[in-house]
Subunit: 361 residues, 2 copies
């Protein structure tokens, strides 16, 4: 183990956290040294299921204990969104760098408290929007945006839908899901995708679409579509739902070209990913076909630490190491992106609250 290895602790032992454990285990400069859950049994079961040996990994029955462990450099938060704000701030105050599952907070005010706590305590904040770190994402930016193949962005369509069994839908409480419901849990992705496609230009207004909004009997938002308007005459549609089959579409239509991915959140396969594009497409003479078929660009990620999780971990570790060495300040780019996404999530939620009227940003 290198001296600058980042030592992680888990706040929350949900099943999904196994993915993070796997990524850290495969990395060369990070390690899990502690896990915690308010239910000790949950933590113990998680340790066994993930082959975390009691000799190297401390198992705590409370978040406090883990945060008081001075050996822990950084924490990965996966507890329900309604608790993230409180524990993220506490973690920052305990000088732990923060990697927080998305959505990192219930609203912008809460997120700002987290980010401020991180800044004043000199620890790094990053939310767990993994796909932003994928090599494909980087490749599209270079090969389509910077090259001019796309032209000006005119229209964006993005979704995140995943089906929840009918009997479970009613159990999605606001305590578990937060006030924004599906908009926070799922909509975070398409909203983030739109902002990414717009190079983080903010929309001028947002509107939830009438009748796209469904809730369960306790008022948790289960589905929602919204439109986002930009000063540059670009418009975007985001759609999130617990009522549809899995879909994670991102289509960007520009003045000169277009880009499509149908697996932008999590690629179909871990070791390879692709996107399709056209540029300068038109119908051929007599309109009996196109002058091209979409070009498929494949990105190889089969190397060690090339999965999007590994890329995210490496970016986080790099920032933490820089701060720990005293070489660099806390990076402000990632918290800024989180805040912009959260602002739009809040605006969509507000639009719903006021009867799907326009909300200006």
């Amino acid at each position: 183990m290198e001296d600058n290895t980042v030592r992680f602790g888990l706040l929350g032992c949900i099943r999904f956290a196994s993915k993070f454990v796997r990524t850290v285990t495969q990395s060369s400069n990070a390690v899990i040294i502690a896990i915690s859950d308010p239910t000790l049994e949950t933590a113990n079961t998680f340790a066994t299921a993930n082959n975390l040996s009691p000799e190297t990994v401390a198992v705590y029955g409370s978040y406090e204990e883990l945060l008081n462990d001075p050996r822990v450099d950084a924490v990965y938060l996966t507890m329900p969104v309604t608790q993230r704000g409180k524990w993220a701030v506490t973690a920052a105050e305990n000088k732990k760098h923060l990697l927080v599952e998305k959505p990192p907070a219930q609203n912008t005010a809460e997120l700002e408290k987290i980010v401020e706590a991180c800044e004043s305590n000199g620890v790094q904040f990053m939310d767990g929007t993994i796909w932003l770190h994928h090599q494909r994402t980087v490749k599209i930016r270079e090969s389509m945006f910077h090259s001019g193949l796309l032209g000006d962005v005119r229209h964006i369509y993005s979704t995140m839908t995943t089906p929840v069994p009918e009997q479970v839908l009613e159990r999605l409480t606001k305590e578990a899901m937060g006030l924004a419901g599906a908009i926070g849990e799922l909509g975070w992705y398409p909203i983030g995708a739109v902002l990414w496609a717009m190079s983080y230009q903010m929309p001028t207004s947002v509107r939830a679409l009438p009748s796209s909004v469904t809730t369960n009997s306790v008022g948790t938002i289960l589905s929602c579509s919204a439109s986002l308007q930009f000063a540059s005459t670009a418009t975007a549609i985001v759609h999130c739902s617990f009522l549809s089959q899995l879909s994670t579409d991102l289509t960007i239509t520009g003045s000169k070209g277009s880009i499509k991915m149908n697996d932008y959140v999590i690629p179909y396969k871990e070791n390879t990913a692709w996107f399709e594009y056209t540029s300068g497409a038109k119908f051929v003479d007599m309109h009996i076909g196109w002058n091209m078929v979409p070009e498929k660009v494949t990105v190889d990620c089969s190397g060690t630490e090339e999965s999007q999780e590994a890329m995210m971990l490496q970016e986080f570790v790099r920032l933490v190491q820089g701060i720990n060495r005293g070489d660099s300040e806390v990076d402000r780019r990632w918290p800024k992106i989180s805040r912009k996404i959260q602002l739009v999530v809040d605006a969509v939620k507000k639009s719903i609250d006021i009867g799907c009227e326009v909300v200006y940003l």
Copy 2:
């Protein structure tokens, strides 16, 4: 030439009508026997460019002359949309069956006049929405909808965008484009696609999306997005624009599966077409990939008269022959579909007119 061959005349000699000539020429039971244009020179040039011999094809310098030619069974109308209503009615009164380029009229009232004229004169009406006749379209209906692979339709996204050079945008007048502008000329397709995907259930309401609407200096609508709401909790987004690169996307997300085509209006290639679908898609354990990649279904249309144009022509010819033989009445299904699309086009236009407010249907 068989006795029941349908003898076509063209009302309008725009360049695009060459496609129809080509399709008829390749067919075994239809023939072009006359063409007409208010400018005789245009008609003559068209005849030469399309190898239409003066020995077999009459060339008229007015629509009236063609409509007075008793040998003509059916006409194909391609003149500007603002003139279609008048000439379609006149053609019907002259007992000519009607194949009318889309949009067939400027609004529902005008379309109803055309359809009524056809009914009372015992001639067939069909608009030229070619893709509805493609074998792929039929295949999707059977293999995805009827089979249950898609489940209930939850969300639909459809576009038709095609770039018009900046200097030409200003020349798109309401006289040429009709009052609905891009909504009629382009939006006809995505609106029709949504209705098709909803098995022609009508939306309960429609709304143009604020700031998605752009116009040129003479007020012609150049781009527009709109949302359509259905009683069955399905929502749809349609987008049309003269400001973006060519895009013709149709994505249907259902409770169990999803379907995608990015070339639904005119397939990339004439002799083959495909769509992609998933059904029962989910993330694999630990969310490091999907349990499937989209399945690509290819439909071969390389045979004679298997292009979508040929399929449309054959359907029209079949109906006309049935009527001419006295075997069948005028078919009401196609005019009904046209009317439903036109009703939604009108509703989107109305929403724009009232400041992007909701229009109930």
